[in-house]
Symmetry: C2
Subunit: 415 residues, 2 copies
Amino acid sequence: MGLLVLKFGGTSVATVPAIENVANKVAAEIGRGHKVAVVVSAMSGVTNQLVKYCTEISEIYDPREYDAIVSSGEQVTSGLLALALQKRGVPARSWQGWQVPIMTNDIHAKARIKSIETGLLRESLDRGEVAVIAGFQGLAPDGRVSTLGRGGSDTSAVAVAAALKAERCDIYTDVDGVYTADPRIVNHARKIARISYEEMLEMASVGAKVLQTRSVELAMKEKVPVQVLSSFETALGSDLPGTLVEDEENIVEQEVVSGVTHSRDEAKVTLRNLPDVPGVAAKLFGPLADAAVNVDMIVQNVSPGGERTDLTFTVPRADLPKTIEVLKESIKSLDGAQFESSADVAKISIIGIGMRSYAGVASKMFKTLAEKGINIQVITTSEIKVSVLISEEYTELAVRSLHTAYGLDGEDGKA
Amino acid sequence: MGLLVLKFGGTSVATVPAIENVANKVAAEIGRGHKVAVVVSAMSGVTNQLVKYCTEISEIYDPREYDAIVSSGEQVTSGLLALALQKRGVPARSWQGWQVPIMTNDIHAKARIKSIETGLLRESLDRGEVAVIAGFQGLAPDGRVSTLGRGGSDTSAVAVAAALKAERCDIYTDVDGVYTADPRIVNHARKIARISYEEMLEMASVGAKVLQTRSVELAMKEKVPVQVLSSFETALGSDLPGTLVEDEENIVEQEVVSGVTHSRDEAKVTLRNLPDVPGVAAKLFGPLADAAVNVDMIVQNVSPGGERTDLTFTVPRADLPKTIEVLKESIKSLDGAQFESSADVAKISIIGIGMRSYAGVASKMFKTLAEKGINIQVITTSEIKVSVLISEEYTELAVRSLHTAYGLDGEDGKA
């Protein structure tokens, strides 16, 4: 049996009894003959409390001190899990980022992992110890602790799995896998057994908040199979109880469409009567980028007379007020341009590797929505995804209709 | 102006506003031209919570993991204080024990500082930064975090002061100095302006819980002047508002008796009818030492006939049940011996460097107590201390009488 990397998030280690539960899962994998490295987050709520202390002192803070402070949460859980394993007779030791070391770049608070020294870790694993590694943290070139940004523990886990050439990285979370659609909306949504990295990336970017995007990118780059599973519901002993994210080559039966996602975290901005000359887009999107507004879907209409044009784009709903502020300034230099905005929109996406080989996938989406009387405001596509912006009130209807249209409905609820 | 080391305990950094208050004090010392290194404890209550997590998992735990867990508290406060200083325009950075590094021995959870590398610290101080050092922790030879045991932050501060050859180490705590007696008992108790290391050591060992004993020992060895002062009441700008603990040579006007202390944390055990032969004491005190009971005052009476003797000693009151258990076993081999115990005792001590040069100091103590009708049960003396064990109900009367007898009363309450 090979090496497994198991990652447990904040809700999985929120209390001492929860940590004991995690220790049972780790002990079970040891019992099945695996070597195990574990990556842990901070107890749920702890990181928020630590961030709150920082912002109470100053809204603008030194990210090196922020890192020293917030990295303490993972340090505590790694030690506690090591103790809980030792109590079960499983040799274990905790590792802080600087002890491994997990080397990062120098962008404190948003650091990226550059390399992981595996020498000490391997010696420990070869002695039969479980390595319990504090997630979310590393050692910056300045010799100080760095953190990877929110959700960074997923990335830590995948990076450790890649460095140790692990058989698999199991990400334990509070959902038991990736679904064909949000089960709260679609009764007949099915858990997906296997999904490609590319599809998972598209899902992560359009609202399925199961895995952090960076961790999927890294897994794809390093070809680390990643399983998403629940730390609360998963039956011990089952071989692959969650959703396995892996290389598409390993997925024998590919669906044309793997899933339908939705995001209400959208707002739409339309600019009318723009001069249709070079540099207009730069004048609009430059200041938005400076204001850290992440523009998503962009559609520019063909201008009939060749002199004026319309432009529509979406931004995160929370950034709409900031976007309006910035645009009020920007359009002053764009003679006669006007803009309007709406937050009552939702983005619906269909995602599937199979789209590459099948024609008519997008047109089925448009036809399905049209039959339900749902107007499409904006369309964007990628190689394996079609996204449409619709009026928010049609969200559930759209998701359910598409789920049925692409043959994703399970027989009897969760399958 | 030279370098000051300031140490702030858990109550001084218990909340963000308290940390802001500490930052003001540090900024004031910077404003007066000092270079400053600060040593901080964890926020009050945090270490207890972390220890509780450990013991919830297992009463017997790996001290290396315990150290990884509990050292996180100081890490957080050092970062927060650095942020609060930066907000005030005072350059500052936090230092964890492993970053300095503060090297300790390998006795995890009760480590002792072996050496402190000052190279990086000095560079930082020379750049004009305040060094905010996490107390209570260091780096063990195994490359893992070690902690110094409870109260270890005082020791960290004195060790840092010694390593950096600081002008003084100021220990900020929740009392404003060392008093001639407990002000809760003696209205006319006076704050002592200057006291010798030796006297402070004796005071620390007999109940005046202002400074941790090890830190005073270290200060004496390294000749570091230590000031005890309050982080809440001290007026800024006063030169020496607290009590300065220093070499006796520097104290010009020495009192014969500097202070009167009391401790109710005592229990008395008397063994009767012991065989007066070699090895008896070993048979009694060996098993108590094995049970980690710290025996304090020991008095063996001269045996009249030469065959049987009585022995009285004191133990911490909390250890009395354990002591009784151990003795029940021990006396089985001491034919005919019996024992009795009492927890209703108090130890009263007078302490003063001046005792060395003046005769009659102890006899004045006995006479004073006799005049008040207080019976002395046990007497022990050191070069600069006389301690007596009395019935607990006379504690306040004894302390007040002695305070007056040795001329320690102030004019109008606190002086």
